[in-house]
């Protein structure tokens, strides 16, 4: 895991895209098989009844992926401070998602090096989740 520094970041810098394919097993295992979850996460018919078209991918799983994605980008000395996500379209299990992101702002605030990113999950090229993420990065 390489370290990125505040001074090296520019607005409009893009994060390397990452592909993830959610499965129904992932959805259940993420929360624990003994824990109750939405039946639509594992049952295609329950998902269809919600109008999703298949087993629903949990929003919490997608936001966790985005958290990990940005955390990996920020490196060991970086910290994700907050995320704000809008789920634009439901995603269906077994359909690949591409995680992408770009830097939209950087500033120093109260002595902290803050970077704002927009990150998305793309399903068939269309954004399904959009998130604004604030990270704190180290200085050189």
């Amino acid at each position: 895991m390489s370290q990125i520094y505040f001074e090296d970041i520019n607005v409009d810098d893009e994060l390397e895209p990452l592909e993830r394919t959610p499965t129904t097993d992932m959805a259940i295992d993420f929360f624990g098989r003994d824990n109750p979850t939405n039946p639509a996460f594992s049952d295609i018919e329950a998902g269809k009844r919600l109008g999703v078209g298949g087993a629903l991918v949990p929003g919490l799983l997608k936001l966790s992926w985005l958290t990990q994605y940005v955390s990996d980008w920020a490196g060991l000395e970086g910290h994700v401070r907050n995320l704000r996500a809008a789920y634009r379209r439901p995603d269906v299990a077994d359909r690949p998602l591409t995680l992408t992101g770009r830097v939209v702002d950087k500033r120093v605030e109260d002595g902290k090096n803050l970077v704002e990113l927009e990150v998305v999950t793309l399903a068939e090229g269309q954004p399904s989740t959009r998130a604004n993420v604030q990270v704190e990065l180290p200085s050189k």
């Binding site: 895991m1 992932m26 295992d29 993420f30 929360f31 624990g32 824990n35 269809k48 009844r49 919600l50 109008g51 078209g53 949990p58 929003g59 919490l60 799983l61 936001l63 966790s64 992926w65 958290t67 990990q68 955390s71 990996d72 060991l76 910290h79 994700v80 401070r81 907050n82 995320l83 704000r84 996500a85 809008a86 789920y87 439901p90």
Partner: protein, 153 residues
Amino acid sequence: MSVPEQSLITDEHRAAIGQKSEPATVVINEIDAKRMRDVLEDKDPRYADGTGIAPAYVIAGMGGGPRRGMPQILPGGLLTQQEWKFTRPFKIGEELKAVSQVFDIRDRLGGRYGYSVLVTQGTEYFDSAGEHVASAMITITQFDPKSQRKGDE
């Protein structure tokens, strides 16, 4: 169910806005953190076994979270917005107090269900010293699945 003639949000629902829940106890569990890391294939050494630190996304599996006590006005629900804030990392084994409250309830005409209700609720997590550790906020769009437009299934 067709579009109701008047809002299904009652005075009782509105009275819930701003009311803080009794604190719920949440323990940052090593087994849960490891299981979630494994599913995400997270190799970040900061959260590896023995470090005593859990990744931020364990907040996704915490009990006592923002769905606790949420008013259920319509039978179906989809997560439509979410926010997480982290004041510091979670420590494995630490006990947190979770306090939730409803921030907003509003209804909406239109969209694939004709009528829906948006409930926004949040939870603040505090450590044993009363210091803020994290917060989570969600908006659930509640709907009646029977009202779905044809062609959207």
